[in-house]
């Protein structure tokens, strides 16, 4: 858990509660009686363990040999632990800032629409669910297969809009002598072709699922203009058998979306894409001999989306899931701060001619600074201890790359290695990392009491 001891009241203050406390009337022992149950639990399960962990971290795995700061040295030298440190640094630098900025934007924007409350509810909701459930949710989102994972479905969808050519991996010409492989990849005609002619380009080896859902029958090209070369690209394979090789038979499918180029001396001078009937027309050609080419792009494996949970992107991908969970928290805290800002100050600035951006930057944000600090500190503490999300989302193959201190602490102590020396050192190390936040909390609390 991550907690920040403070009230969110920009410009707030007030009298300290303790000035109103009555003098003790009954024996002091009664106060201790009220405190005792909580005190015993805190002493036994929080305070003493901190001390013991510090002590235990100075011993080796078995707990018999004193090795001083050896375990702490291992934190910085061991490759796994060092990756964890690096990732924690990325987390701390990126996630809290992202959460705070998004929370600020959401809080400001929701004030301007009538359904702001509904929006707040939607964004706040993920905070109520567990890291585990959020982790499983995002495993589904990040599924590598674009047919299953919504992230890759969107990415491949956008990609396909911008590159409309269809792809037929594994397809090859029917007649390898007439259409041999080209030096630049793909295939090019062995002979040159004059404008005004018609060139059939039969392909075989097309995978079933590369064809369109309901493929049109291939059509023979009509007579071209004098400055054009036309032809058909089709799947020269008659379903159910029959059909002559190299001939367009009745039940053979057209291959739409294939890019056909006219080359002159190796330079592309015209390019066309086949239509639904497999027809292409290369126009505006000067008289002379041209090679027709089917560039390699036609035969490339289709774009299958981004490997979100691969070693390179796994940490940013998990950070997105984290932001999804916590932006609502920032939004609610900042929204409350925003509501406490005197409207008069904003109106006055507007009347003085300040535009919305200036009002936001010069008045809103400075007045919100205390709240923003609280959100940022809370998020930093929270992120330092991040465990479940990384543990659940990172698949085995990327677990190493996504490692963080809390996960490493669990793995070395309870995940098999049983190295309580290093585990204690990692626990103490985490404790030291949140120490500044603890001091921040205490200082802030004492200020509020005065």
């Amino acid at each position: 858990m991550s907690q920040t001891a403070t009230q969110v009241r920009p410009g707030g203050g007030g009298t300290p509660a303790r000035t109103r406390r009555p003098p003790a009337r009954e024996g002091r022992w009664l106060a201790w009686l009220f405190l005792a149950p909580a005190g015993v639990v805190l002493l036994a399960l929080v305070l003493w363990p901190i001390v013991y962990s510090v002590w235990r971290s100075l011993f080796d795995r078995s707990g018999r040999a004193f090795i001083g700061l050896g375990n702490y040295q291992r934190i910085f030298t061991d490759a796994d632990t060092f990756t964890a440190l690096k990732n924690n640094l990325i987390w701390v630098l990126v996630a809290p800032a992202l959460v705070t900025v998004l929370g600020l934007i959401f809080a400001v924007l929701t004030e301007r629409v009538r359904w702001g409350t509904a929006f707040k509810l939607i964004v706040f909701m993920p905070m109520a669910i567990s890291f585990l459930a959020a982790g499983i949710i995002f495993r589904v989102v990040y599924d590598q297969d674009p047919d299953r994972g919504v992230a890759n479905a969107v990415v491949t969808g956008v990609h396909d809009v911008f590159s409309s050519s269809a792809q037929y991996p594994g397809a090859r010409p029917r007649d390898a002598d007439a259409l041999p492989p080209a030096a630049a990849g793909g295939y090019a005609t062995a002979d040159t072709v004059e404008p005004g002619s018609t060139v059939p380009l039969p392909l075989v080896g097309v995978e079933g699922d590369a064809l369109p859902e309901d493929p049109s029958a291939a059509q023979a090209a009509g007579e071209p203009a004098a400055d054009a070369i036309t032809g058909t690209v089709w799947f020269d394979f008659a379903r159910g058998g029959g059909g002559a090789p190299g001939e367009i038979d009745d039940n053979e499918s057209a291959l739409p979306g294939v890019v056909v180029q006219a080359l002159r001396d190796g330079e592309v001078v015209a390019e066309a894409t086949t239509d639904d009937q497999g027809l292409f027309v290369l126009e505006g050609l000067d008289p002379g001999g041209y090679q027709l080419a089917l560039p390699a792009g036609n035969f490339a494996q289709p774009f299958r989306g981004v490997s979100w949970l691969g070693p390179d992107l796994v940490t940013p991908a998990i950070i997105v899931a984290y932001v999804w969970m916590w932006a609502g928290f920032a939004m609610v805290l900042i929204g409350a701060g925003l509501a406490a800002i005197p409207r008069d100050a904003l109106e006055a600035a507007r009347i003085d001619g300040a535009n919305e951006w200036q009002v936001f930057r010069l008045i809103t944000v400075p007045l919100l600074a205390p709240v923003l600090t609280v959100v940022l500190v809370t998020m930093i503490i929270n992120v330092l201890k991040i465990f479940d999300l990384v543990y659940i989302i990172a698949p085995g193959s990327s677990a190493q790359a996504a490692n963080v201190i809390a996960v490493q602490m669990w793995s070395v102590s309870f995940g098999g290695a049983q190295d309580f020396g290093l585990g204690s050192a990692l626990g103490v190390f985490l404790f030291l990392l949140v120490l500044p936040a603890m001091l921040f909390n205490i200082r802030r609390f004492r200020q509020e009491q005065q």
């Binding site: 009241r9 399960l45 363990p49 993920p126 905070m127 919504v150 309580f420």
Partner: protein, 311 residues
Amino acid sequence: MSVATGGGAATVPETVETQRPPKRVTGPLGGWGSRITAFLNRGLVSVVLTLIAVFWLLPTLGLFFSSLRSAQDNTASGWWNALTAPAQLTLDNYQNLLSNEGMVNAFFNTVWITVPATVLVVVLASLAAYAFAWMDFPGRDWLFIVVVGLLVVPVQVALIPVAGLFGDLGIYGTRLSVILFHVAFGLPFAVFLLRNFFAGVPKELLEAARMDGAGEWRIFRSVIMPLGLPAIASLGIFQFLWVWNDMLIALVFADSSAAPLTVALQSQARQFGSNIDVLATGAFLSLVVPLVVFFSFQRYFEQGVLAGSVK
């Protein structure tokens, strides 16, 4: 209820209640031109917020629809196909899950860990908070600063020693061990939250009770507890959600017969893909309770967040 008279530390619910209704933003001159700009601005803001809302909802919807489709359908195609082919939707996964003894057992473990851990924290913290707020004893202010300091202690620094201690006591692996650890790490926040709220109770009420001859215990029970109910509700919801949603602590302390839903599901998640029907259904089952709590007590939840802390 109003506790606005309290000090800065006693205004937990006030912050929310004084929230003003959003004010419309109009241009400085208020003429037609600026009204149109304002309208367009609002339109643009609406579009942006709608997109964000969709982005925020999609992941959860995905899990929900996945949980309603058969394993074969989920392997063959994305959950969104169920939107156009509602025939795919089935409750089979839920039926299978409910007949899965391990999962049902895990669900009840979650309940039997969460409820006692929540009740215990509320009771222990209320007692301590009352002492901090209204009783006099030496070192009170220093002790409370220790409590404030403990707010941010990471559980990692206590896992190993407490595991050893529980082993010595012979309770390692049981639900009790999980409950105790949750109580310990829930207490600092609970004491902090309640003490601040209790301190805001009007002094006159306590004085009057003392005049009537009520002792500390009676004041605690019949004045402070009823008046502190909103804060206790906030705390209860937080503690409930924190324990319900926890995985790490149960992963360390619970053996397989005491393991809650989160731990049972994480072992399934190790072979993600082949068992999406179990995983999605179980995850949805595990998040439905927090969501119900969230929507029923949303006000208290928000107040808890505003009281300055979240787990």
